[in-house]
Amino acid sequence: MAGSQTALREANRATVLDTIRRYGGLTQVELAAATSLSAATVSSIVRELQGAGAVDVRTTVRNGRRALLVTVLHRTGLVVGVRIGTRHMAMTLADSAQEVLVEQTLPLPHEHRADTSLDRAALLIVELLERVGSSPEELLGIGIGVPAPVDVATGTISVPGILRGWDDVPVGEVMSRRLGVPVFVDNDANLGALAESRLGAARHFQDSVYVRVSHGTGAGVVLGHQLHRGFAGTAGEIGHVQVDASGAVCLCGSRGCLNTVVGVPALIDVLRASRGPLSLRDIVTLASEGDPGCRQVVEDAGATIGGVVAALAISVNPQCVVVGGELAETGETLLAPLREAIRRRVPLNHIAPLEVVGAELGARAEVMGAVLLALEGTTLLTHRVDHPDRDRVPG
C-alpha cells in the first residue's frame, strides 16, 4: 500500500510539472483546476518541487487578489530562438541549460514584410517572458532563423530577391535595438543543421548535411562539428542548383533552380487541377493519409532533391544526411526516394556508409538551432564538441 502511495505521489508530481510547462506559469489555484488535484495536494507538491529546485513560486495578482504563481525554475539567463518562415513564425523561450520554458507559433501572411513581422516578433518575445514570470532583464540573447542566406556578420540577408520585402533589412540590428540584447541571425537550414548535429540525429557524426524541405529547399553543412556557412552565408543553398535548364526563372534570377521544381508553389500548381487549391499543410496531411496524387508529388520531389543532395554529398563527404522541414513530416514518402537517389549516385566507401535519416528534433530543429546559436553567441554555452576523432561511425 505504501508503494502505491509513493507511485501516486510520483505521478502527481510529474503531472504538476508537465502542466506548468504547458502554460508557462500558473497560480496554485489554476494548477489545482488544471490537474484535477485538490488544493492541498497541489500545495504540498509545489512545496516539494520548490525544495528540490524544480519550480519557482512568487506572489502575483490575479483578478485583484493575491495569488501564488508557479513557474519552472530556470537557470539564470534566458534566450529566445525564432524561426521566421514563409507562412509561420515559431518561437521558443529556453534557459541556459536548453530547457524549453514556453513555445508559440504565429501564422504569417504571404510575402509578409519585415517591419510588421519583426514588430510582432518583439512583442511576442516580451509576452512570452511575461508568461513564464520573467522580466526582459533576464533575456540575454536572441537567435533568429530566416529562409534565405544570411551574412552573419551584419545579420542581413546576403542574396537579394529571395525573401521579398526583407532585402537590406539589418534584422539583427532592428531586433537588438528593440530588446537591448545581442541578436544572432542565420539561415534556417543552417540552424537546423546546428541543432541536429548537437542534439539530434547527427550528434554522433562529425560531418553531416541537414536538408530542410519546406516552402523552399535549403541545406546546412556541418564539417568537423562546426557549421560551414561560406563567406557570404550561401553554402548549402541547394534550392538554387539548376535542375531544369529550360525551366522557370527563380526569385534569385537563375533559371530552373531546384526551388522552381520542388518549391511549394510548384507542388501546389501541379496538384491544382485535380485537388483544388491546397496549402503546404494540406499536401503533408493528404500525402501522409495516402492520397495517391499528393504522395506521388512528394515522392517525385524527394527523388529530385536526392539528386541534388547527392552532388553535395560527393563534394563534402558527410557521414550523415538529416532531412527536416514540413515535407519531411510525410516520413518515408519523401525520405525513401530521396535516399534512393543519393544511394544511386554517391559512390559507396568502406569507411562510413552514408546514412540518410529524418530529423530527430522534427519541426523544432530550427528553433532549437536558434536557441543554440544565441547561447553560443552569448558564450552561455561553454559545451562544445571538439573531439574530431571521438565519434567514428560504428560499423
Binding site: 502554460y23 504565429l106 504571404h110 512583442l123 508568461r131 530577391g161 485537388r275 483544388g276
Partner: protein
C-alpha cells in the same frame, strides 16, 4: 480515453475528405447567390455572391458599412435577405432564425462572444444545450466537463481548466471557449466576427492557430476582420466587399496586400511595387 478523443471531429474529417476527393469539381458547402438587403435608403448588400468550401477559410474584408456584418447576419439567420438565394451543400435553404442556422450546420461567434462571466468554461460550452443524465433528468456535469476537455484538447487550446469561471480567462482564451461552444452542434460552417480584435500578439497567435485547426478539421470558416495581416495569415481566399457589392476575390497564397487594399478603397489603378508586376 485518449484513443477516443476526437470522435466527434472525425465525422468532420471524413466529410471533408469525401468532398476533397472530387475537389476539381467540388461543391461549396455554402453558396450565397445574388443576395440583396436594403434598410430604407441604405443598400447594405446588392447582388452579393459568396462561396465557402469544406476545409476552406474565406476572409471577408471591407470598410465600415461595406456589408460584412450584414452578410454574416444573413448566413447566421439573424437577418433575412430581400432577394437572392442561400444554398447549403447545394440545397436552397431559408435561414429564418439563428436556431434554423444551427440546425443547418451554421454557427456564428459574434464579437461580444456572449459568454456568462460567472459560469465555468464547461457550463459555457454547453450553455442552453446542457447534457442530461436522462431526457428529463438532471444535468450530467461530469460528461459536460469531459466533453469540454475533449473539445478544447482537440483544438489544442490553452485553457487551464474547464471548471474555471470565464471571468478568470484572458481575452484569447474566451475567444477559444466561444469557438469551442459552437462545435458542440457539429457545424459545417463557422462564422467568426473580428476574432482577433483587441487581442495581444500571443493571444492573436493562439486564435490564428485555432483557425488553422478548424480548417484542418474540415470546417468551412468565414472570417471577418479589419486586420489584413491576420486575415492574410490564415485565409485561403479573401473576398472584398465595398458599398454592399462584391469588389474583388483574391487567392491569399498569391495576392499582394496592395491589390487587396486597392479593392477595399475602390482604387481603379493599383500602384504595384516593381516586383509584383508579372
Amino acid at each position: 480515453m485518449t484513443t477516443h478523443q476526437g470522435d466527434w471531429t472525425m465525422a468532420l474529417d471524413e466529410e471533408a475528405r469525401m468532398t476533397g476527393e472530387n475537389a476539381g469539381t467540388r461543391q461549396p458547402v455554402l453558396a450565397v447567390r445574388q443576395v440583396t438587403k436594403r434598410f430604407g435608403a441604405v443598400e447594405a448588400l446588392i447582388g452579393v455572391d459568396l462561396d465557402v468550401h469544406a476545409g476552406e477559410v474565406v476572409a471577408l474584408v471591407g470598410d465600415n458599412g461595406a456589408g460584412k456584418s450584414t452578410l454574416a447576419k444573413i448566413v447566421s439567420g439573424v437577418l433575412q435577405p430581400d432577394s437572392g438565394q442561400v444554398r447549403i451543400a447545394g440545397e436552397p435553404v431559408t435561414i429564418g432564425s439563428p436556431a434554423a442556422a444551427h440546425a443547418l450546420g451554421v454557427s456564428t461567434v459574434f464579437q461580444d462572444l456572449a459568454l456568462c462571466e460567472n459560469l465555468s468554461v464547461a457550463a459555457n460550452i454547453f450553455l442552453g444545450r446542457e447534457l442530461r443524465v436522462s431526457a428529463s433528468g438532471p444535468m450530467d456535469l461530469a460528461r459536460m466537463e469531459l466533453e469540454s476537455t475533449k473539445i478544447l484538447r482537440d483544438l489544442t487550446v490553452g485553457v487551464p481548466s474547464v471548471l474555471a469561471p470565464v471571468r478568470d480567462l484572458s481575452a484569447g482564451q474566451r475567444q477559444a471557449v466561444a469557438i469551442a461552444r459552437t462545435l458542440t452542434t457539429r457545424p459545417r460552417i463557422l462564422v467568426l466576427d473580428e476574432p482577433t480584435a483587441a487581442l495581444s500578439v500571443v493571444q492573436t497567435a493562439e486564435v490564428l492557430m485555432l483557425v488553422e485547426r478548424l480548417r484542418a478539421m474540415g470546417l468551412g470558416v468565414i472570417l471577418i476582420s479589419h486586420n489584413l495581416a491576420d486575415l492574410r495569415s490564415v485565409a485561403d481566399r479573401i473576398e472584398v466587399l465595398r458599398h454592399g457589392r462584391n469588389a474583388g476575390s483574391f487567392d491569399a497564397a498569391t495576392a499582394a496586400p496592395e491589390e487587396i487594399i486597392a479593392a477595399i478603397a475602390g482604387a481603379t489603378r493599383v500602384a504595384m511595387p516593381s516586383w509584383a508586376r508579372r
